[in-house]
Symmetry: C2
Subunit: 460 residues, 2 copies
């Protein structure tokens, strides 16, 4: 049996060998530096660049790796004398090299002489992209799209990272499992909570207790109609729904992304349950359709049509569901895409723009709603995607749509659903050889099970 | 009775009037932007610049204020169309101006024409210091010490922020109160916890539940001898001490900073209790001495001497305590300073270097230990400082000291205290007109009370 370290070394070797099959020039990845918060010594928690993590496996601050023809060279400096007092004993360069299976190691100062003909990807923090720009002698900026060899490298990375190997899946399953527990804790804490912040605390507490971090800023709100709501100050009222979009990230950077919507009181109102079941039907239909070869955009459209069918049945939309979707009427209530890639980033490889999410030659749609779709590729086994349909009453959209869609939406009927501001149900789905596997399946989605979880008291 | 908003407006007006008494040129403060984490849309939680918060009161992203002769001008752009979908309805410029009592408001584009003769302070994030540099037409970088008018401004800000007004103290007390609850929760969670991370989760959960954030990366560890230990993966063993240095920060940026050290088992061993009581004696002696006019460095030295006395009594050090301190022998076990300023930053105004902590004309000592002292000024009523003596067995220091101090330290006796790797006790102390007030007094310090808190089961 192999130990963890051997597994990591094997995984990393396979990744760089695959990279070597795609490019014939060296690739250099910087890990990045901590970003300062309010003063230089008070830093945000270090997050290594995802591309570095993919090929180096562990989050080393201020390190660089150079990959060429399947070989791994590590550039990092040994801890400064005196650093042990403040930060404890750290592994030295040789010890790190053993952990990750580096073929050669050097101090950072050696890097500059080994950069000829090398491609790279810009890291997010300014200290690092400044360093990339200086040592490579050309502008490397996160906001500049890659060109030349850098573009070739970006395409090769996308080709690799689009599907996940066994090492990645082990981590992704860990992130999913902890996120499931976090959501259960949030639901269990809801009935005794007074503020959104208390539910968030219960959820993030589970993530912290597992020595993980959140993969993105949590959304835990009674105003689910604000899609990226990062405020937590609203009091919880008995008739409210909480929309919680919270995911964990493992120590080596792999993410989960789960949303559940649940009633503060422990019981959905009949209108809330009606809409919830429509969103759930869309969720289930999309997941059932996931299989290699299927176009993700078709899954998005299936989700939209299923939503439209449900809303027609409820008397909210009027007309033929397919026709309503063709006219974008569903997007009044479901303005975003059905999901996105998931991996080392919660929107995986979004730093590379639509190089990652869009098949070559495809462009974002101009249509409202569809234009927000983050993934437009045929699915392949090993891809991990989210499926996250929703229903929202966004005042800014509703106000506009009232005059735009006088006859296709029954506005009097809409008003009867005033207690549904925002519902989303999101799971993480792995494309398998013969269909799909929901990594987050341990967290139930049906309304009654969700109610049961809210009604389960917080365990001691 | 005044409402909160009127209070904020009055507080801010008084602060800028005081600034106008100190400088006769305009001061411009940028709030800053969010820093990206692993891709541009995945950001760290926004933290406004502390200087901006001091004069603008609320954490507005990408805003600028200009202060001149007591007047407040606000530069900020109204939310972009479509932003309501993702971020909800935000107050517009005029509404924000009303909340903070701005005299005039402008879009950001107007700023450039109003910068003549203005001083500023560099903000930490790269997007903002780039903007400062471009609009002011000169290098503004967090790592460059301020010069010219910027230096005059920095000195004026230090003069203001060294002591706290009533508005600041209201917030600082809130941060202290929540931090006290966080520590109690951490102690209560300890006996059932298996990992450091679980104790951290209990503590930070309280902070998140109060819709606050941590003021700095929490230290929650059984390896307290690593002074800035930000790892949480160690298992808890019955004989371990947990050192927890955790503080909350309010929504408007005011910080607390508390450390407690407690036994995993709920009972200190006799050796642990002996050292704990020595550290506590130093803590108590320092706090008892705090009063306007007293030199903070003298409090540091009193702490050192009290520690040395205790260690002589225990047979660890040999000789006269004052003489031992003069020879820096105590710093083998207490290598850092007795504390620092506390306010909007956990090390208040540390972005300004020793301009903030050191009285003009004073410089850092070359002596080991004393050189780490962050504050060297006479105390004044309204200053808030931490008092945080400790005892640590840092392997790197011990190894060096064994040969350096063969006769002043009884190394055989030291070995009997092997189960004390690190102890620190830290409180936040306000200098008052006639002495001091401990803002964090609600969290007991004596060993028996600490044991009681660990032995109190987690409340439902």
């Amino acid at each position: 049996m192999k130990n963890n370290s051997t597994c990591l070394i094997d995984t990393l070797r396979q990744r760089r060998q695959k990279l070597a099959e795609l490019i014939d020039f060296p690739a250099v990845f910087w890990s990045g530096n901590s970003s300062p918060r309010n003063f230089p010594a008070n830093i945000f928690p270090f997050r290594a660049s995802s591309h570095f993590l993919y090929f180096a496996g562990i989050p080393l601050p201020n390190a660089v790796i150079r990959l060429e023809a399947g070989k791994l060279e590590l550039f990092t400096d040994d801890p400064a004398p005196g650093s042990a007092l403040w930060h404890g004993e750290m592994p030295n360069r040789e010890e790190i090299a053993q952990i990750i299976g580096a073929d050669l190691t050097y101090p950072i100062a050696e890097l500059e002489s080994k950069l000829e003909g090398a491609a790279t990807i810009a890291v997010q923090d300014a200290a690092t992209w400044t360093q990339q720009t200086q040592t490579l002698g050309r502008m490397v900026l996160p906001q500049l799209p890659p060109e030349g060899l850098d573009l070739e490298l970006a395409k090769a990375i996308v080709a690799l990272r689009l599907t996940h190997d066994a090492g990645a899946l082990t981590e992704l399953r860990k992130a999913a499992a902890v996120s499931v527990e976090a959501h259960k804790a949030g639901m269990a804490a809801t009935k005794s909570a007074k503020l959104e912040a208390e539910v968030r605390a219960a959820m993030e507490g589970v993530i912290i207790a597992h020595n993980m971090t959140t993969a993105y800023s949590s959304i835990v709100t009674v105003h689910g109609e604000v899609l990226h709501n990062n405020q937590y100050h609203h009091p919880l009222q008995p008739g409210d729904l909480i929309l919680a979009d919270v995911g964990a990230e493992t120590k080596t950077g792999w993410a989960a992304d789960i949303t559940r919507t649940f009633p503060v009181s422990g019981k959905f109102s009949s209108t809330q349950r009606d809409i919830y079941d429509v969103v759930l039907a869309a969720h289930d239909a999309c997941i059932a359709k996931i299989s290699p070869g299927v176009e993700y955009q078709d899954i998005h459209l299936l989700g939209c049509i299923t939503l439209a069918e449900g809303l027609v049945d409820l008397g909210i939309l009027k007309g033929d569901p397919e026709d309503l979707v063709a006219r974008d009427v569903h997007s009044v209530f479901f303005p975003h895409g059905i999901g996105h890639l998931l991996g080392l980033d919660v929107h995986d490889m979004e730093d590379l723009g639509d190089l990652s999410g869009y098949e070559p030659g495809r462009k974002r749609s101009d249509r409202f709603g569809l234009g927000y779709l983050r993934l437009n590729r045929p699915l392949r086994a090993g891809m991990l995607v989210t499926i996250e349909p929703g229903f929202y009453q966004v005042p800014a959209i509703i106000n506009y749509a009232r005059s735009q869609y006088k006859y296709l939406i029954d506005w009097e009927r809409v008003e009867q659903f005033a207690d549904v501001r925002g519902i989303r149900i999101e799971d993480d789905v792995l494309v398998t050889d013969d269909g799909s596997e929901v990594l987050t399946v341990a967290l139930p989605t049906d309304a009654s099970s969700v109610e049961d979880l809210v009604n389960t008291p917080v365990p001691l």
